[in-house]
């Protein structure tokens, strides 16, 4: 649905060229929620703004739903943008318009008639659960309600793609959960493809089917979350299941095991104990239901001098095992 190839964007800042996005390729499948995670300054915001050409890339192509946007300009580009929704970190609502007025704006832009507009606005506000707040100004709404208005506005043009620019970063944990829940719901019900950027692992955990970790303008890893969980050394896995610094356990080997999918519920510990008669100690870990899959990660202390047969045994059972250093 979204296809980015060789994307590059450089800024001039205080006399120096700063590469914000450095040769990035990205494919987001139809109906997928794709998260790009990275710290601030990693270039993820620039990347997102290149998708609807709020920023024009220096090199590379961006196509959405089969249309090469980088080849468009003027009114053709404006028409293409009408088919891409966008939500923003600070909501970007017009303070001078009510919730209904804000949702109506994109419809006014596209020239939808007054009666049809009113009908569609009511329908959209109902969709995001704000049917009763149509006449409220943004200043009278909570952060979560403002973002719901933002989402209703983004959906006005019946887009196939929604771009989310840190849409939950200004919200508290509970509200973040409910906004992500709404996005997932829209994703399922409308088949909406969502590309979101975030610096919160929790967002990837709760909502994303696929993810990319971005640093210094590049993707350091990218793929379906379930696949990345099975990739040795994955930064995303470490971020989703942080285990902290490795403790020193004399006479034992400390290993981190990651299990996902069907493996997540296997009794791997009981199996180890039975097979090797081993006093396995759990040093930390968690098993959780992610949006993509069920997964868990445990840090274990395996007693004995030679852990190799144990590691081999675990690997044969489809468990990712890494010796923690």
């Amino acid at each position: 649905m979204i296809r980015i190839e060789g994307l590059r964007k450089t800024y001039r800042s205080s006399g120096r060229d700063v590469v914000a996005v450095d040769d990035v390729d990205l494919t987001v499948a139809e109906g997928e929620i794709f998260g790009v995670i990275g710290t601030s300054g990693a270039g993820k915001s620039t990347l997102l703004r290149c998708v609807n050409l709020l920023e024009r890339p220096d090199a590379g192509t961006v196509s959405v739903d089969g249309t090469d946007l980088t080849a468009l300009s003027g009114s053709k580009l404006r028409t293409a943008r009408q088919g891409i929704g966008m939500i923003h970190q600070h909501f970007a609502l017009l303070s001078s318009r009510t919730a209904a007025g804000n949702v109506a704006l994109p419809l006014e832009v596209t020239g939808v008639g007054r009666a049809e507009r009113a009908e569609r606005v009511a329908e959209l506000l109902d969709l995001v659960g704000l049917g009763d707040r149509a006449g409220a100004y943004p200043a009278q709404l909570s952060g979560g309600q403002k973002q719901r208005v933002g989402i209703a506005r983004a959906l006005a043009g019946r887009p196939k793609v929604l771009l989310s620019d840190e849409a939950t970063s200004a919200l508290d944990a509970d509200t973040t959960g409910s906004i992500l829940g709404l996005l997932q719901d829209l994703n399922r019900r409308l088949g909406l493809t969502i590309l979101l950027i975030t610096h919160e692992m929790g967002v990837v955990k709760q909502a994303c089917h696929s993810a990319a970790v971005m640093r210094a303008g590049r993707f350091v890893e990218v793929g379906p979350v379930a696949e990345l969980l099975g990739t040795p050394g994955s930064e995303l896995t470490r971020g989703l299941f942080p285990l902290g610094p490795v403790p020193d356990v004399p006479g034992s080997t400390v290993v981190d095991v990651t299990v996902s999918g069907e493996r997540a519920d296997d009794a791997i510990l009981a199996d180890l104990v039975r097979t090797f008669d081993l006093d396995v100690r759990i040093l930390g870990g968690a098993v959780e239901q992610l949006a993509a899959t069920r997964a868990g990660r445990l840090r274990l202390a395996l007693p004995g001098d030679d852990p190799a047969p144990v590691l081999e045994h675990l690997r044969e059972r489809g468990v990712l095992v890494e010796v923690a250093q």
């Binding site: 703004r49 609807n52 709020l54 580009l77 404006r78 028409t79 293409a80 943008r81 009408q82 891409i84 966008m86 923003h88 970190q89 600070h90 970007a92 609502l93 017009l94 303070s95 001078s96 318009r97 704006l105 994109p106 006014e108 832009v109 596209t110 100004y137 943004p138 200043a139 506005r153 043009g157 771009l163």
Partner: protein, 218 residues
């Protein structure tokens, strides 16, 4: 001077001031809005980015703002003659008043529009809005409270400028205060004039604040 003479000259002065300030406010609102919008749009990263044009426009505005009004008043005499046909009188005073106030209001318009958060503008661009739609439906609409507050400031500044219009025979309350109070030592007239001016300014400010409150939903 009798009471009725006083009220008569005050009435005429008030009428002249209201006329000069009223007409120049209308012209300034239009001119200042245009120049202010252009200052924002042509700036680096603006919707119609044209840094050289922006620099020239900024320079012209700054020159207009640095000239003391009394000098501007005299300097634009040839232009006034070309526009109004005369260089003396209340109508003639409107030309320098407007020219003096446009740069002032333009800067206020510029800063009011810059107050509109950039992500709101980005959201409009992302919706596929045209430049015209963004200016009308987003920039001007969102800046409305600031624009009205700025226009109020401008009207009051124009009342102040109009006092100097006496130099070109513009008349008005300020001129009255100078001629009677300063030049003829008729303190009562001066005080009466100042009182009327204070009330006038007060009313303008109150009305302006009222409209701003109505428009503001922050």
């Amino acid at each position: 001077m009798t009471w009725s003479e006083l009220t008569e000259i005050l009435g005429v002065g008030l009428q002249e001031t209201a006329y000069m300030v009223g007409v120049s406010t209308l012209l300034t609102a239009v001119g200042g809005l245009l120049v202010g919008i252009l200052l924002v749009l042509t700036d680096r990263g603006g919707l119609l980015a044209a840094p050289p044009l922006n620099a020239v426009l900024g320079l012209v505005v700054n020159v207009g703002r640095s000239l003391p009004f009394i000098i501007l008043l005299v300097a634009v005499i040839p232009f006034t003659r070309a526009v109004v046909g005369t260089t003396i009188g209340t109508s003639a005073a409107i030309v320098p008043l407007t020219i003096g106030a446009i740069p002032f209001f333009a800067r206020i318009v510029e800063s009011a529009i810059r107050e509109v958060p950039s992500d709101v503008v980005a959201a409009a661009v992302a919706m596929g809005a045209t430049r015209r739609q963004i200016i009308a439906k987003v920039l001007l609409r969102e800046a409305r409270p600031g624009l009205v507050a700025g226009l109020t400031i401008t009207i009051i500044a124009l009342v102040g400028y109009s006092a100097m219009a006496g130099v070109v025979g513009g008349g008005g309350l300020g001129d009255l205060a100078i001629r009677y109070g300063y030049q003829r030592f008729e303190t009562e007239v001066m005080i009466a004039t100042v009182v009327v001016l204070v009330v006038f300014v007060q009313l303008v400010q109150m009305l302006g604040d009222l409209v701003v409150r109505r428009l503001s939903h922050r």
